[in-house]
Symmetry: C2
Subunit: 260 residues, 2 copies
């Protein structure tokens, strides 16, 4: 396919590379910042543009990988070319594009991307939605050329998926940051925790999280939890967080009827 | 070394196997439950016992891998043999053993173990403490025969390390459980999130967590955060958790002086 990439951030970067590697042609890369557009365009053999006035008609699809709040406005300006337009956001409804054209879709890669870190794109879950069955099928076909994990996900489901991802990824990463800070306060290196973090995530590859929960809360080890709360005496936010998460672990466990 | 294992749980199981593989002799495995003692003893070529009265003197060290609240009492009953006694707990002070014998130490593996899941023990951080320098050195030497990550950690530091591990492992796993539940409520499979969880942990192998934080909070994307809170209207605990973690991410970010 001939693909135009709108955006030059993390998602645009990884997606363009995946399309290019799968044999598609990246026609243009647009960014408000010409430097960013040129950098990405160079890597994927495309032309860089920094104004939507320079958009080429010679394309099959616009992949709109930009900030959530400008997806609607940008789509309104792309609609006149009468090409398929798909955004890549977890949080934005299909209607943000469909408001301007029936040739609307979503192509949401459920992954955390950094420009500096390579990953195997074939394992990235791609969540597809189209304004009609024909568009959905077309986007699915494109998605399967770059990933083995293609899902049909409605806008309503995608919203939930995005929220779940905030818990599983963004909040998890912040717990890592909290633990690093706790260690630093006592002159210990975060390296000590890295194997534990890796193993905690590794367990989840083959198990359901509730079946491998460990720690003082699930054992209802009140003495250890009390000690931990005392240690957090000068960190009121962490105290509340500790209490809340521990109570939720206990509640979850009781709901499941467990008593281990 | 000749090693006696007190306990037959996850830590006892993985530690015995690592010692055995490193060429040490496991003399006896003690558990209150003879079935559990026999099972582990069989795997590591040891004798199973279910009463401390049957302890053999023919050993160099007692590794006490049992519940925190019985470490003191059990150590009091082992002290008369005048051998080195080391517990494996993150939360228990060295004094729990030293109260009964000067030949006291700690041999704390900072990892989450499941009996059913193998792992590379050489990567497990071992946190060593001894009642004196000679004991510390002896325990370090033993530790290095099974792991490449051996640290000297005081009882005060170990308490902090254990607390940090609760955040980085136990609480993280519970966030996975929360995200799974959110997906299930909208008929989506946890499989969709598994690659994201793996990548989030993988990033941490080479980066500091605060430098790879992503998501609506660090972008100060108020609209998305409001939407998420509305979606959690019927989940008051998750609402509080969402707010607290988001605020802490923003606070952390501002403290670091960032504005991305």
């Amino acid at each position: 396919m001939r693909i135009t990439i709108i955006g030059s951030g993390n998602v645009a970067t990884h997606l363009s590379a995946a399309f290019k590697n799968a044999g598609h042609r990246i026609v243009q890369v647009y960014s408000r910042d010409m430097h960013n557009a040129a950098l990405l365009a160079y890597h994927v053999g495309a032309t860089a543009i920094d104004t939507l006035d320079d958009i080429s008609q010679d394309t099959d699809i616009f992949i709109v990988a930009i900030k959530d709040d400008v997806i609607g406005d940008t789509s309104s300006r792309l609609a006149k070319y009468d090409k398929l337009i798909a955004h890549t956001s977890g949080a934005v409804h299909l209607e943000a594009i469909r408001h301007y054209t029936e040739r609307a879709g979503v192509f949401y890669p459920l992954q955390t991307f950094s420009k500096s870190k390579e990953l195997n794109f074939r394992e990235v879950p791609l969540c597809i939605e189209g304004a009609d069955e024909r568009i959905t099928k077309e986007l699915e076909k494109l998605a399967r050329t770059v990933s083995n994990n293609v899902y049909r996900v409605s806008s309503a489901q995608r919203k939930v998926l995005h929220l779940a991802a905030v818990f599983a990824c963004n909040f998890t990463n912040h717990l890592y940051a909290i633990s690093k800070q706790l260690l630093a306060n006592s002159d210990m290196s975060f390296d000590m925790l890295r194997p534990l973090i890796a193993e905690t995530a590794d367990k989840i590859k083959a198990h359901a999280p509730e079946t491998v929960q460990t720690g003082p809360a699930i054992r209802n080890d009140v003495q250890t939890m009390d000690t931990h709360l005392q240690m957090l005496d000068n960190e009121p936010d962490l105290r509340v967080l500790y209490t809340l998460l521990s109570q939720d672990i206990i509640k979850n466990h009781n709901k499941a009827g467990g008593d281990k």
